[in-house]
Amino acid sequence: MNVIEVKKLTKKFDEITAVDGISFEVRKGEIFGFLGPNGAGKSTTISILATLLEPTSGGANINGFSVIADRNQIRKSIGLVFQDPSLDDRLTAEENLRFHARLYGVPMSEYKKRADEVLDLVELKDRRDDIVKTFSGGMKRRLEIARGLIHYPAVLFLDEPTLGLDPQTRAHLWEYILRLKREKEMTIFMTTHYMNEAEYCDRIAIIDRGKIVALDTPEALKKKIGGDIIRMQSGEKEKLAKEIKEKYDLDAKDSEGDMIQVEVENADTFMPRLFNELESKIESIEMRRPTLDDVFLSLTDRMIREEQASRKDAFRAQMRIRGRK
């Protein structure tokens, strides 16, 4: 059964097409990852699904409701955890939950039971009456997740849920997300640009320049790469790439800095050949199994990375750090 169905969704802002006719389905109980660099159309898609923006054409259904026609029903059907902190940090954890429950029309008799349940899930029960300001970044995120669940949504949207958190907290947060899927069979739609986190997803859609360029399980996507990855550092990488093309008919791709990389079926036997036969200078070489980063690079020809931040973005990042402390 599909919880989200997106059909030929398009959003144009004046001249720019932010989302370009994308279609996909999210099945009940799965973690669906939405991957792409900044400006690829992730946030626009989420905003449309959350009824904050209207699509230019095409449409989407969540839980059987249309994002265009049944806005209030959609809003009741989804839980949202934003990229930027959106808790009121002068209120207690419990007050944040209570206000949310009231805005979403959860009966107060029902609320108490649900508050206990969601606080239990994210292990914040003993902090329920503390002011949110005193919480750590990870605790705030967990509380936001709890809040997003209190009206029993059909799907939970997590927009870059681990952004701005330290690695340990990130791993910890993932335990809660996976527990949510396991114990509550919650459908989760998330965006991220941490490729190692995308591995936790059941299926991944890779979006670039407004289009979905791939959609499959992480394993299947990695298999598409073929074999292993060899990465070489060289001061003359253009010459090196040309030589590899001539000698082995392999397309070398630009990687970070003065590195290039090629995909080969079996690196163990291929590397000695490179050493013996290449004339171009190689300063260093490494071999590894493909990761989602490689999938992304091979599909979009670019690294997933932060593009130049506008002033507002820079400010926002600063606020985020402050909010998460």
């Binding site: 949202l80 959106s86 949310h100 926002r316």
Partner: protein, 259 residues
Amino acid sequence: MNLSAIYTIWERELIRYWRDKIRIVTTLIQPLMFLAIFGTGLRSALASSSLGIDFLKFMYPGIIAMSVMGVAFFSTISTVWDREFGFLKEILVAPVSRTSIVLGKILGATTIAATQALLLLILAPIIGVSINLTVVPELFLFMLLLAFTISGMGLLIASLLKSLESFGLLMQLLVFPMFFLSGAFFPLTNVPGWMKLLSAINPLSYGVDALREMILRNQISQVEIAKIILRSPGANAMYLVFFSFILVSAAVVAFNRRN
């Protein structure tokens, strides 16, 4: 419209205000500073003037009205901030109407600003004004009305404001002129036409006029009071109701369109 949503947003404003003790103290200290510095300084300079009343007493109701404006304005304009980086986003995706959000916000700011103004009445004995308890309900009603009007204006501006940067400019070009042209510091009975006109479109001036009449009513003679008052409280109330209707409706429309 959704009463439970309005109530929720209103309650949040109140809890936030109550928890922010520093803000409570500073918004009480600011009027005190005005009274102590401006009041005392100008009082000696104006000793020989024909005001017919001690300057500190003259200024006191105006300062209360200014405090209403300051608090109401600040509480609503913070929405700009909230929209970009905070809780407003959470409210905006909730299944409640924009109109409920606007009304909850405005009523929250109104309650806070009027309550704060009521607190300033405890300064009366220090200034030498004795306030009859029977006039307090009337005063509070006016404080609410003025706060409601200014909150509507604040939220309207917050919805129209394009960027956070324009906030500073706005303070310079709007808030200070509104303070100075409110009649808080000098009577508007005897000023040039252009100033009369600007004061007439300044909602704050109606609040100052009304509060002044009510607070000083039993302090000085009817003749004296007529020299510094423009309108009866009833007339001021009507103007304020008119202003609040326009501003709050405009705020609802602008907020709906913006978000």
